[in-house]
């Protein structure tokens, strides 16, 4: 019974948040709705005995990634009055609808094929009361799945290096001609913005 109540409450938060992300007009409100959704999912994780996953969900997704979204929205000032009729990418909306319906259909089909939701709690990490969830997870990560773990680490490092390279200024020789007076003004403007 407590599990059911938790599930209904957290599920309601997740759904309301998700609908809010789509329907709210202001990007900051939408981002906050996303936080509510992530929080609800974290509660569901706790209900499934996946405490570490819940903590990581809140720390990484709610605490870092959405904060980054908000940073971008606040600093770049995404305009509320963005014209929604202009499509920057041709046919992205029909494709998005198709993908959404497809994913929903696939999950419903897999649910029916599996014979409904089992309602059993965590089977991947057999709940062992003697050993903490995080200890089991750590052991698996550093023994059986060490290769995947290291590969992910390398992937993230490459992503960081790539991001730094993209954010850097263009190399000096590719810059505009410093002698022409008009482009000179442009250059100082740009360096002020960048610094």
């Amino acid at each position: 019974m407590p599990e059911l109540i938790t599930f209904i409450l957290a599920g309601a938060i997740v759904l309301v948040g998700a609908v809010g992300v789509v329907l709210l007009r202001h990007p900051v409100h939408a981002a906050l709705s996303l936080v509510a959704t992530l929080f609800g999912v974290a509660v569901l994780f706790v209900a499934q005995d996946a405490q570490l996953l819940a903590a990581v969900q809140v720390i990484v997704y709610a605490g870092a990634i959405v904060v980054l979204f908000l940073f971008v929205i606040m600093l770049l000032g995404v305009d509320e009055a963005d014209d929604l009729r202009v499509e920057p990418l041709v046919a992205q909306r029909p494709l998005a609808v198709a993908a959404g319906v497809g994913i929903l259909g696939l999950s419903l089909v897999s649910l029916f094929v599996a014979g409904g939701a089992t309602g059993a709690s965590s089977t991947l990490l057999a709940p062992d009361p003697a050993e903490a969830n995080i200890a089991q997870l750590g052991r698996l990560l550093f023994t059986e799945y060490a290769f995947a773990f290291e590969a992910t680490a390398i992937l993230l490092t490459i992503a960081v290096v790539g991001a730094v390279m993209l954010a850097r200024r263009p190399p000096a020789d590719a810059g505009p001609e410093p002698l022409a007076p008009t482009s000179d003004a442009e250059v100082t403007d740009e360096s002020e913005v960048l610094s």
Binding site: V28, L32, V58, A62, V67, L70, M74, I134, R169
Partner: protein
């Protein structure tokens, strides 16, 4: 696990839990009140002033008077504010501050007992919650607390609060890494995340078995510095640098909403001090003697409060003596000194652990680890210098 919940949940268990919630809530509020008064009084002493001296003996009721006054002031809502978010932000600052405190063990005899006390015939820990992810719960709550500051600044629709909140979030996100790495050093030696387990692991000998000594002081110092930055307290209070930003993220707030931010800030200070005590100074453990009531109630509580006040004083001391850092100094300290140092120290501790486990000679392993670490620091230093040279070169070309 708390032994209170071991035999199922009945009415008595629910009532005891409710009692603990109320006690933790009241304790935190009273500690916050005390801390505001304590800070004003100590700062006044350091500056040869008298400080609050009107309300109650030694002005101890000053905070209560100020709080009551704030309740009855006019609540302003700026024209350009985003109304919903403006109202939500103070709540987002206060609620995580309360929740974070729930994992702190306040008392219980850990020295020659199992840390439990008896309430109405039920054995239980003197802490509100002991989740298996313990310390991570604290980090998660401080991550949520960032939203309060960030949204407050943005929703005010005014430039100084926005600048203050951007500074605050950048600072908190940067120092969270150093904070997390020094926490990892503690987790490495105690082998548990539960705050109760961390205290139990330090309960052997007095001082010698505390994590402060076991982890070799450096993580505790890093935790203290990163924690101060995380709290936006001086010398890391660029967020509310009044000479530059009027009042920072809370400039447009007034009345009870302003009081909530103020409350959250001081509650976080108390929680951070309590967490340092828990992680590095053995929480409530210390010499105990005498009958049961002294042994498992009064003495552990006394030790805990003594250590808590020590750190509260340290934070006030920082504020009274250190000048504010510049923004580039803040970022340099966080990213180029604290994070590499915390990471290096963590690797060193891990090496010692592995050497002990595999039966290698520990001094040799430590020497090799130190040589590797010094090499790594040298490389890091070289790359930082090269990057700076490149930047300066590019700036010259562009100028």
């Amino acid at each position: 696990m708390d032994p209170l919940y071991a035999h199922g949940v009945d009415l008595a268990v629910v009532l005891i839990t409710l009692l603990k919630v109320v006690v933790a809530f009241v304790f935190l509020l009273v500690a916050t009140m005390f801390m505001v008064w304590f800070e004003r009084k100590i700062i006044a002493d350091m500056q040869h002033r008298i400080g609050p001296n009107r309300a109650g003996p030694w002005g101890i009721l000053q905070t209560l008077a100020d709080g009551t006054k704030l309740f009855f002031k006019e609540d302003l809502l700026p024209d350009k504010a985003d109304r919903r978010v403006f109202r939500l932000a103070p709540v987002l600052a206060v609620v995580p501050a309360f929740l974070a405190f729930s994992i702190i063990p306040l008392g219980g005899n850990f020295t020659d007992g199992d840390g439990t006390v008896s309430i109405f015939g039920h054995r239980t820990f003197l802490q509100l919650a002991d989740p298996p992810v313990g310390v991570l719960f604290f980090l998660a709550m401080s991550a949520i607390g960032v939203y309060g500051i960030m949204l407050a600044g943005w929703s005010s629709g005014s430039k100084y609060p926005l600048l203050g909140s951007v500074r605050a979030s950048a600072q908190i996100v940067s120092y969270e890494a150093a904070l997390g790495l020094s926490v990892a050093a503690v987790l490495l030696v105690t082998r548990t995340l539960s705050t109760n387990g961390i205290v139990a692991a330090q309960s052997g000998r007095f001082i010698v078995d505390w994590n402060l000594v076991v982890t070799g002081v450096v993580p505790a110092v890093i935790f203290l510095i990163a924690g101060t930055a995380e709290l936006n307290r001086p010398p890391f209070d660029l967020v509310e640098a009044e000479q530059e930003l009027v009042g920072g993220f809370n400039t447009e707030y007034s009345s009870i909403r302003f009081a909530l931010f103020f409350l959250a800030e001081f509650m976080n200070t108390v929680t951070m001090s309590a967490l340092i005590v828990t992680m590095f100074l053995g929480g409530p453990s210390g010499p105990v003697f005498g009958p049961e009531v002294l042994r498992s109630w009064l003495l552990p509580l006394f030790w805990f409060f003594l250590k808590l006040v020590l750190f509260l004083f340290t934070f006030v001391w920082f504020r009274g003596t250190l000048p504010r850092l510049r923004y580039d100094q803040l970022m340099d300290l966080g990213w180029k000194i604290l994070i590499p140092l915390a990471l290096g120290w963590l690797l060193l501790l891990a090496t010692i652990r592995v050497a002990q486990h595999e039966g290698w000679p520990v001094p040799l392993a430590m020497a090799v680890a130190l040589v590797v670490l010094v090499g790594a620091f040298g490389l890091l230093n070289l790359s930082v210098r090269a990057a700076r040279r490149n930047r300066e070169h590019e700036a010259e070309v562009y100028a």
